[in-house]
């Protein structure tokens, strides 16, 4: 098996996994927060926030990649300060791939979690309040457990999207083997050269295998959680 993939390809697999996991994990708290705000609050500019969240879905991925490059690039209006103040460089680094994947997956994650928020019966939260739980505790002990199916669904969607993300990633962090070359970038590269199709196909299989494993695990998890939330 280790012969089957070249070292660079192994690295692409590892990188894709790393990027997808980090992208999912890091965006989850933000996803929950934004979904909460969109589901529960009414405020001026809500539609704008909602639009912003959906933007990566609406724009061709390359455009999102360019926008990321313009904002978070070494010379970008955010990127330069991240660099100056925190020494954090994203463009052309694997960390940038995390950002790109997270941004691209964000709308999917937020929608799933938001739907779950909207399905929580506010009467249960009220009941928790009368029992002495402050809003923060209500969130942790009642709301969060009840939206867990949505959180899992959102995380799975985000992970799958991150595994498949290509346009924005290659545009933002390029396609440097061992550094920023994710599985989709590697697949793309093979597809660009004569005779590369079988190689690409191999990587597609790897990609499918990894994602399927993640899906199956998530389904098992989700069905356990769902049974619990249904009160059985």
């Amino acid at each position: 098996m280790s012969d089957w993939l070249s070292p660079d390809e192994w690295r692409a697999v590892a990188l894709s996994l790393r990027v997808s996991l980090w992208a999912t994990a890091l965006s989850l708290p933000f996803g929950i927060a934004v979904a909460h705000v969109l589901a529960r609050r009414d405020f001026w500019g809500k539609q704008a926030l909602n639009g912003l969240v959906h933007l990566p879905l609406i724009l061709p991925p390359v455009v999102t990649g360019y926008l990321l490059l313009l904002a978070f690039g070494r010379k970008g209006f955010i990127g330069q300060y991240l660099d100056q103040w925190f020494g954090l460089v994203l463009a052309f680094k694997w960390t940038g791939a995390v950002l790109a994947a997270a941004v691209m997956a964000f709308p999917l994650m937020v929608r799933a979690i938001r739907l779950s928020f909207e399905a929580v019966d506010p009467k249960l939260e009220q009941a928790a309040g009368t029992l002495g739980a402050s809003p923060a505790w209500v969130f942790l002990t009642v709301t969060l457990p009840l939206i867990l199916p949505g959180v899992i669904a959102g995380a799975v969607l985000a992970f799958a999207k991150a595994m498949g993300e290509f346009g924005a990633t290659i545009t933002f962090v390029a396609n440097i083997p061992g550094q920023t070359q994710t599985l989709p970038s590697a697949i793309y590269t093979f597809l660009q050269v004569p005779g590369g199709d079988p190689q690409a196909f191999r990587l597609v299989l790897v990609s499918i295998a990894v994602a399927m494993a993640a899906l199956v695990v998530s389904e098992l998890l989700a069905s356990r959680v769902a049974r619990k939330v249904a009160g059985r």
């Binding site: 009467k123 009220q126 309040g129 009368t130 029992l131 002495g132 457990p145 059985r232």
Partner: protein, 360 residues
């Protein structure tokens, strides 16, 4: 501790306009379906924010719309038994019961095992609420509220789904709570016998307004109110003191109208009790009757006779207290009853039910 409630709220098509004071003890909210009972309790809990209102205890203002004070529910130290159980589906019965204890409340509340035993929940502790029966759910909800060690207990028809034997086990506990702690209890029920047994204060709601509010004993003995409370359920309360425990399972009490014998009451002589006698359980007689299976015969004087289509409601003075009797017009005529007449009231001992007895 006294709870004062004044509320005004406008739902589309329904106006809530309520004003009452709940002194220490148990205050029952009584009224027909849709009269606003749950809404009042919700406002006290902080779940419904009324258009205008003020709700306060001696030391805390829970709500004052005129000065924009509105304590959030979790700062009100409530125990609320909702009309629908509202159990947390993702927690086990045990976790549901303990939920209120997770939030830094003084730990001198009731004992977990006691409450679990009282409510018969031992076998259910590890289950989740999803597949509990209706009555099981409401028992867990009651336990959850009691165990949160509240400073104010709100109970919205807590026993509606419970069978009588279970109810009979729980009512004394509520009485003890009422008598031994200082926490005010707001209690919604449409079962008047239950209300009569438990309530120190009665608030009658009708279409969103508090029609009558006052000491339960006074309101229940007021023949004017009987129609509003439901004729069948009219009845008065008299006080009595245990004098002796008979050998044959009867307890002797002393009342203003004479000695009474009730099925065994497990309290020592000297205990003072409140006894409810339903108006329809009283038979009136000109002479002291003989050879009857009924043991309790009280002597009094007719103070008022109120005739209606449904019969006659007769109020008797028994010492300083009052008794209500509901009889037919034909009997009232046949016996030629008139205010001021001396009269005997016959009450079957067993008709004074166990659950109509409350400790003072």
């Amino acid at each position: 501790m006294t709870l004062s409630v004044a509320l005004n709220h406008q739902f589309p098509g329904f106006t809530l306009d309520v004003n009452f004071v709940a002194p220490p003890g148990l205050t029952a909210l009584f009224g027909r379906s849709g009269s606003g009972k749950t809404s009042v309790i919700n406002a006290v809990a902080g779940i419904l924010r009324p258009d205008q209102g003020r709700i306060s205890t001696a030391d805390t203002i829970l709500l004052d719309t005129s000065s924009a004070i509105n304590l959030p529910p979790h700062r009100r130290r409530l125990g609320y038994v909702f009309q629908d159980a509202r159990l947390f589906p993702h927690l086990t019965v045990q976790q549901n019961l303990s939920y209120g204890r997770w939030f830094a409340r003084p730990s001198n509340g009731p004992n977990f095992d006691d409450i679990v035993g009282l409510l018969g929940l031992q076998a259910l502790l590890q289950r989740r609420p999803g597949a509990l029966s209706g009555g099981e759910k409401s028992r867990v909800a009651i336990g959850r509220a009691l165990l949160s060690n509240p400073a104010l207990l709100l109970m919205d028809e807590p026993f509606a789904a419970l069978d009588d034997p279970r109810k009979a086990e729980l009512l004394p506990y509520i009485e003890t709570l009422r008598d031994q702690t200082q926490i005010p209890i707001l209690y919604v029920s449409h079962a008047l016998p239950e209300v009569a047994r438990l309530a120190t204060t009665l608030v009658v709601l009708d279409q969103g307004r508090s029609l009558h509010a006052g000491p339960a004993a006074d309101l229940l003995a007021d023949p004017d109110l009987a129609p509003a409370l439901g004729l069948r359920d009219a009845g008065a309360m008299i006080s009595a003191e245990i004098t002796a425990q008979g050998p044959d399972g009867l307890t002797e009490l002393h009342s203003a109208g004479g000695p009474l014998w009730l099925p065994q009451i497990a309290s020592p002589p000297g205990t003072r009790l409140r006894i409810r006698i339903a108006a329809q359980d009283v038979i009136l007689s000109r002479q002291r009757p003989e050879g009857l299976s009924a043991l309790n015969i009280m002597h009094g004087q007719i103070t008022e006779i109120r005739l209606s289509d449904d019969g006659a409601l007769v109020q008797l003075a028994i010492g300083a207290e009052h008794l209500l009797a509901r009889i037919t017009q034909r009997s009232a005529t046949a016996l030629r009853l008139a205010p001021g007449d001396p009269i005997f009231a016959i009450v079957k001992s067993v008709a004074v039910a166990q659950k109509d007895i409350g400790k003072r």
